[in-house]
């Protein structure tokens, strides 16, 4: 490098540094100036609806702009944690039960109780119990935005040809001993290659063409897509208290009975055994005509009843167990980062997200059921308008004593893996259900010591 080019390089680097400095000074905030809030969510189906909310909010508060970012589920939580670690988290983000406790315990979520008190937010407008999921020791870490419940989804054509009355599906019963009328329906919906159904004495369980029931075994510690609902209807409860319990009860024999019943379905050929199960999602299998009935969450409505579905499907209520009909109900909330520079603006946005103004917009698009009861009605009406019968989800949510919340505790992800492994081990026959679940329960509870 000769002297001239050296000087040139020095000048060039100076210019770069100066440019950088210019950038940072431009980004500095002046008081009273326009504020941009970062808002994160993971569901691409919902992005458009929340953009509508953001636009409405911006019209009402011209000095606040909402910038929405969306990332897929796994990346969402990794990015969020990394950004928080880097001290540059979004001002407001969408929260969910199994991930949010760690943010609470590390003090990353702003307690909004003072704001709620000051602005007198009506917490009774939300679906029962949802608002309480996001509280701890008198502090509040979010306002509920939506909820989901579970139902049975079935292939209408297949059940009709098998002679199963659709109306009869509305009041199925279940018990862990003989499976009740639910198992009868599953057996009847199972068809072997010779066209015999599962109740036929000549039924060949090694050559099944259509399985009556498709179980979900990668279902974490909650069994929201299957065993959790039936276990709850058998009298099982996950925890000493929810949210924020510290003592799990996976060793409850009522859960083991439920798992054993699922195992018996596979043994009878009514459901694929885990080691012969598909790795593809249950809706692909239903669409391929390989299964007749399974559990579906209300977030799956558009997959089963939308234009993408290859076959005709319909929803039916969950079967009623010994303790009645029980569906898992789960909800999301919006949280404010405790490190945000714009606390008041962020609260305004969260309050708007939790208000009827925004939730009616979201409900009107029929994507999810909003947390506010009246907005849920709007979502139901939107679905009915499109000719989709999804009333079961709303009815189940409204039934007194018919719902249970999925557990919200510390160590959610570890609990999830331990319990899922234990249940898979039981289903694969490595150990019996009771032993496997007892061991898992000890491991889970050891996490809280």
């Amino acid at each position: 490098m000769n002297r001239r080019s050296r000087a040139g390089a020095a000048l060039l680097s100076l210019a770069v540094v100066a440019g950088l400095a210019a950038c940072t000074s431009a980004a500095e905030q002046e008081p009273g100036a326009a504020v941009t809030l970062d808002y994160w969510l993971w569901d691409d189906n919902q992005k458009a609806s929340y953009q509508q909310c953001a636009d409405a909010f911006h019209t009402a508060n011209p000095n606040i702009t909402i910038k929405i970012s969306q990332a897929a589920w796994n990346e969402y939580w990794q990015n969020l944690t990394t950004q928080i670690a880097a001290g540059d988290a979004p001002d407001v983000w969408t929260n969910q039960g199994s991930y949010y406790p760690q943010f609470v315990s590390s003090g990353q979520i702003l307690d909004i109780q003072p704001f709620v008190d000051a602005d007198k937010v009506d917490l009774s407008q939300y679906q029962g119990g949802l608002a309480d999921l996001f509280t701890k020791d008198g502090q509040r870490f979010g306002l509920p935005k939506d909820w989901d419940t579970m139902a049975l989804v079935y292939n209408t054509e297949h059940l009709k040809t098998q002679g199963i009355d659709a109306a009869g599906l509305a009041d199925l019963t279940w018990n862990p001993t003989d499976g009740g009328t639910f198992e009868q329906a599953i057996a009847k919906a199972t068809v072997d290659e010779k066209g015999r159904n599962g109740l036929d004495p000549a039924f060949d369980k090694t050559k099944v063409k259509v399985f009556g029931f498709l179980p979900e075994w990668a279902d974490g510690s909650q069994g929201q897509n299957g065993w959790g609902n039936l276990a709850a209807s058998n009298g099982f409860t996950y925890l000493d208290k929810n949210p924020w319990g510290t003592q799990y009860k996976y060793d409850d024999p009522k859960l083991a009975q439920t798992i054993d019943w699922f195992k018996s379905l596979s043994a009878k050929g009514y459901a694929p055994a885990l080691d012969k199960a598909s790795t593809l999602s249950r809706d692909s299998l239903l669409n391929a005509g390989k299964g007749a009935i399974t559990f579906a969450g209300s977030w799956m409505i558009n997959s089963y009843l939308g234009e993408g579905a290859k076959l005709k499907f319909a929803f039916a209520p969950l079967p009623a167990g010994p303790q009645g009909r029980k569906t898992a109900i789960n909800g999301l909330s919006d949280a404010i980062w405790s490190g945000t520079k714009h606390k008041d603006e962020a609260w305004k946005w969260v309050k708007f997200l939790g208000s009827a103004d925004c939730q009616n917009i979201v409900g009107g698009n029929g994507v999810v059921f909003p947390a506010i009861k009246s907005a849920s009605e709007k979502a139901l009406a939107a679905h009915t308008g499109k000719g989709r019968d999804v009333k079961v989800f709303v009815d189940e949510a409204a039934a007194p004593g018919g719902t249970f919340f999925v557990p919200i505790t510390e160590h959610g992800n570890e609990v999830s893996q331990i319990v899922q492994d234990a249940i898979q081990a039981a289903i694969l026959g490595q150990t019996d259900s009771a032993t496997s679940l007892k061991k898992a329960n000890d491991q889970v509870n050891a996490l809280f010591k």
Partner: protein, 293 residues
């Protein structure tokens, strides 16, 4: 001639090495040092890391899941490296002795060019128990379906098989390049003396290929220990923990449970084990010396 002192190039050499050294220091050296530090702390990404001594390591050595994942990984490496090296050797000698078609060589590389995630998804559909092509084939031959990814005995061989499919072509090409260095006259001489192909392979190809084979083994074994993407796409470590390899274990600890310190400790252990294995291999195969010299 003797008057001119040989120029000392060492100063100039540093300038030429600098770009690589800087890159190495910034992208490998510094992160590795940070990794060692994190492995001695209780870092969770959300807290300020504080020093906990060797607690992570003590916990790790008592962790059944860690040892299980080590075993599972070893099983995978045996399956994968075994099948991959044997197949690649066979293909490479076929190419060497039978055909030298460029098209064929390029075709062999095709699976290696496909991104691993795509490969995982592709095979997941092909091998699916209910909808997969392979099981339909088995069915037409009157066989029972196999849960390639969901049966605990099949899951790991399936994953190993997929990666063997993906990497054999590449390995074969490396070995083939090594075979090209073996002088042709040796084969001519041997065939005049009446040696068959098999004998030439054993007596000429294998011994003279040794340094290349050693390098290929070391590199592919390190790569094999790092199996992650195929498992993350297909089995996610299941069923139960049948395919929970060490990298997946580290990933879960770090990015699902956010136990950064613990994951760092596991990663350091893995690096030490890999270093040790490499040293042993290099030694045993006398990789730095060639019989051709």
């Amino acid at each position: 001639m003797s008057a001119t002192k040989p120029r000392d190039d060492r100063r100039a050499a540093w300038w030429f090495l600098a770009p690589v050294l800087v890159g190495f220091a910034v992208f490998y050296g510094y992160p590795a040092a940070r990794g060692v530090w994190y492995s001695l702390t209780d870092y969770t990404m959300l807290n300020t890391p504080s020093y906990v001594g060797t607690e992570n390591y003590a916990k790790l050595f008592a962790d059944q899941k860690f040892w299980n994942s080590m075993l599972v990984t070893a099983w995978y490496v045996v399956l994968n490296i075994g099948s991959q090296t044997l197949l690649a050797l066979g293909i490479a000698s076929l190419m060497h002795r039978l055909t030298r078609s460029v098209v064929l060589r390029a075709t062999l590389l095709l699976p290696w060019l496909v991104p691993n995630v795509t490969i995982g998804l592709l095979w997941m559909w092909l091998l699916d128990t209910n909808l997969g092509f392979v099981n339909q084939l088995l069915h037409t031959f009157g066989m029972d379906p196999i849960g390639f990814f969901t049966d605990e005995t099949w899951a790991m061989p399936t994953v190993a098989g997929i990666n063997t499919w993906a990497y054999t072509g590449y390995t074969a090409l490396l070995l083939y390049a090594g075979m090209l260095q073996i002088p042709q006259y040796l084969y001519e001489g041997a065939s005049i003396d009446g040696a068959g192909e098999w004998r030439m392979f054993r007596r000429i190809t294998l011994p003279l290929l040794r340094p290349v084979l050693a390098l290929v083994l070391v590199v592919s074994m390190i790569g094999s220990f790092q199996i992650f993407d195929t498992i993350a796409v297909t089995t996610k470590g299941g069923p139960v923990a049948a395919t929970q390899v060490i990298y997946y274990f580290i990933y879960q600890q770090a990015f699902k449970y956010f136990h950064m310190g613990y994951a760092a400790a596991a990663a350091i252990c893995l690096a030490l084990i890999l270093g040790l294995l490499t040293a042993i291999q290099m030694r045993m195969l006398r990789a730095s010396r060639s019989d051709l010299a």
